[in-house]
């Protein structure tokens, strides 16, 4: 154990800020997962791979001399259609089946995507340079890369837009209605098939935005998707479905938790700590549920 993070207040602040900026990005991916989980009852194992694919779109723009920040516009548009395509090809066949079938199907999609990306883009680790500078705080004791600030800002903007869209637009209302009761929505004239396709598309688009941001802030690689799936899964489990403020809070919480785990336990346990936390939360939830069940008896 290394308690450096608590010994220097500047490092504590640094860890918190890094964590929050990172967490906002996680929350965006998690929100997409929560959306389709809530609406279609599908846990998408390929979530992380959609993120990486979105990252490659921004990377290719960067290669062709376009500033990768434009990726946050182009990537969701392309990814929306990719999402709708996946829905039409695979997901619509498993959407009414039980959860296990859909997990299996999306697991297959995940493997397929990894291999295809590897085949198409090669196995090299790549990144897109934004050329954004650095922000120094507290007498330059705390440093924040502007790319991280940019990515958090864009994530928040997209999240707000999505909330408004869900509240105000016709499709948004249809999605919410389907989430509440698909059968009733169908009877009342909602084309649930269309709603499902759009939901999957929106989720993929959110992944596209996140991916573009990740290619600017970190690195991308065809096999790097899984940690993003796990993180978003965890955030959704903690926050519950259809609870956007909850998703944002638990996303940021996870970001800060990861940073602190990194300082305290060492970088090698960073992802390990996330898995451990996931297990603890699942056990806790089960424990709570069983108490409730007893009470009901």
């Amino acid at each position: 154990m290394d308690f450096m993070v608590f010994q220097y207040p500047m490092i504590t602040i640094q860890a918190c800020l890094d964590g929050v900026l990172l967490g906002v990005l996680f929350a965006l991916i998690a929100y997409g997962m929560a959306l389709q989980w809530g609406v279609m009852n599908i846990i998408n194992i390929a979530q992380g791979d959609l993120v990486i694919l979105g990252g490659y779109i921004a990377y290719f723009m960067y290669l062709y001399g376009i500033h990768p920040a434009w990726g946050v516009i182009a990537s969701p548009i392309i990814m929306y259609f990719v999402g709708v395509g996946i829905y039409k090809l695979v997901i619509n066949k498993v959407v009414d089946r039980d959860l296990f079938i859909s997990i299996l199907a999306t697991f297959g999609i995940s493997i397929l995507f990894m291999q295809l990306m590897n085949f198409a883009f090669g196995a090299d680790v790549v990144l897109a340079n934004s050329g954004y500078g650095t922000t120094f705080l507290f007498d330059s004791n705390v440093v924040l890369p502007n790319s991280k600030i940019f990515s958090a800002f864009v994530s928040i903007v997209f999240a707000i837009c999505l909330v408004i869209y869900m509240k105000k637009s016709k499709l948004g209302r249809a999605i919410r209605a389907t989430a509440q009761n698909a059968r009733a929505a169908k009877i009342l004239g909602v084309d649930t098939e269309k709603v499902y396709a759009a939901t999957f598309g929106i989720n993929a688009a959110l992944c596209g935005v996140a991916g573009a941001l990740i290619s600017i802030t970190f690195t991308i690689h065809p096999y790097m998707g899984l940690p993003y799936t796990i993180r978003s899964f965890m955030i959704v489990i903690v926050a519950g479905l259809g609870n956007l403020p909850g998703v944002a809070m638990s996303g940021m919480g996870l970001g800060v938790f990861e940073e602190f785990a990194d300082y305290l336990l060492g970088t090698e346990f960073r992802i390990g700590a996330v898995f451990l936390l996931l297990v603890l939360i699942l056990v806790y939830r089960r424990f709570k549920l069983s108490r409730k069940r007893e009470y009901l008896k």
Binding site: M4, Y8, I11, Q14, A15, D18, L22, Q115, N118, F119, G122, A123, D124, V125, V126, L127, N129, T134, F136, V143, P145, S147, I214, F218, T219, H221, P222, Y223, M224, L226, P227, E259, D262, Y263, G266, T267, E268, F269, R270, I271, G272
Partner: protein
């Protein structure tokens, strides 16, 4: 019905016949010496796998066109059977079995990466098949007592040893304070052991010793510690993603450190992906084209690089150069053994003592090449932002003077 059965049994009989005849035909067929190799053509090592394959192919073409291999007064040509191991160790071991027991290959070339070489070595050892490998540097490969494994490259623990010694030398012989971050895989951990040894011998102190996860893409925490503790040397080894992540975050967080030493800069195309931000990074390399080693086939490094560029359209990374060297070693050993007996070839390999364009080659009893030091190059950029790798150590081959300490970010 009956006729169907007869046809079926006929076909299977033919198939069995064919498969057995393959076994008796392979190894040395007519005027061909058939070598086998499992290479990562797909999967996460595919880019380096292709570099390896290109290196092998280039040497095969060159040796064949320059007279081939002379054994027992007859001239033979090299041919390689490749299989794709999908970057998967289990698959690589299966393919090695297949190459040896089905295709009847009697001599093997190595795959890409230490992990895959580790998977294949027990198989080649079991069948007594000599294997010359060019891409497995992990120290543990050479401590298992393998008799049929020969590596043309320097072992992993020597990768950054030179960097620490150079830093100590520049510090007036006094020990330095080292911060290090290594991925948790066989190769990087071996590099780490090398640093620990060097630190002990030079009286240096390790003040940060972080391990990086496989899914690494954020090492901000390590860098914050580096900023706080101000070490003299920062060492990072985590394959291409380690190198890329380190440079990105060092530049973004404006981390000032007098010396930054890394591995895999070449494979990460560091200066291409990061431009001026990668300036002053020190990189360990098995080979560099400006080294002045010579042989009769490729002449020297510069000629090799030019020929390679002409054939494959890119500058050869050291993975290709060392792979080409493996073929030169095989040719030399066949000719000295003057036989295709596996034992004799193995003994000839063990007695190898030659110079190639890639470096001197002489094997220790463990199979590693002990006659070729690692080189360090430094990324240097001109005013226009064009960056080049220049050899700075060991001094014998230096084409530029090491810039030390690295200028502070505020002064760049």
């Amino acid at each position: 019905m009956k006729i169907n059965k007869i046809i079926l049994s006929f076909i299977s009989a033919v198939a069995i016949l064919l498969s057995t005849s393959v076994v008796s035909f392979a190894k040395v067929v007519g005027d061909k010496i058939v070598l086998g190799a499992a290479i990562s053509l797909t999967g996460k090592y595919s880019s380096n796998g292709v570099h390896t394959q290109n290196g092998y192919n280039m040497a095969v073409d060159r040796i064949n066109s320059m007279g081939g291999v002379k054994v027992g007064g007859k001239t033979y040509k090299f041919e390689i059977i490749y299989y794709d191991d999908e970057s998967n160790p289990k698959r690589a071991a299966q393919l090695a079995e297949r190459l040896i027991s089905q295709d009847g290959v009697e001599f093997m070339l190595g795959p890409y990466s230490s992990g895959l070489t580790k998977a294949i070595a027990p198989v080649t050892e079991k069948y007594g098949v000599p294997m010359v490998e060019a891409n497995g540097a992990s120290r543990s490969l050479f401590t298992k007592g393998y008799k049929y494994l020969f590596a043309v490259l320097a072992p992993a623990n020597l990768y950054l040893d030179v960097a620490i010694r150079t830093a100590v030398e520049l510090n007036g012989g006094k020990g330095v304070r080292i911060a290090q971050a290594f991925e948790q895989d066989a190769f990087s951990q071996d590099v780490r052991l090398g640093i620990l040894d060097a630190a002990k011998e030079t009286g240096s102190e390790i003040i940060i010793d972080d391990k990086l996860p496989k899914e690494l893409n954020d090492m901000a925490a390590t860098l914050v510690k580096v900023k706080q503790m101000k070490p003299d040397v920062l060492v990072v080894s985590g394959h291409t993603k380690g190198a890329l992540t380190a440079i990105r975050q060092i530049a973004e967080m404006k981390v000032d450190v007098p010396m930054l030493a890394m591995t895999h800069c070449d494979a990460a195309k560091l200066s291409k992906q990061h431009g001026k931000n990668s300036q002053y990074a020190l990189c360990a390399s098995q080979w560099h084209k400006t080294l002045t080693y010579k042989d009769n086939f490729f002449k020297d490094g510069m000629t090799y690089a030019a020929d390679f560029q002409k054939e494959f359209g890119y500058d050869p990374p050291y993975q290709s150069a060392e792979s080409s060297a493996a073929l030169l070693v095989f040719k030399d050993a066949f000719e000295r053994a003057n036989s295709f007996d596996q034992k004799k070839v193995r003994d000839a390999l063990a007695a190898t003592n030659m110079q190639t364009f890639y470096g001197n080659i002489k094997f220790a009893p463990g199979g590693q090449n002990v006659d070729k030091p690692m080189v360090l190059f430094q990324v240097m950029c001109d005013g226009a932002g064009k960056c080049e790798n220049k050899v700075v150590a060991p001094l014998k081959w230096a084409s530029a003077k090491l810039i030390h300490p690295i200028p502070k970010w505020s002064e760049r």
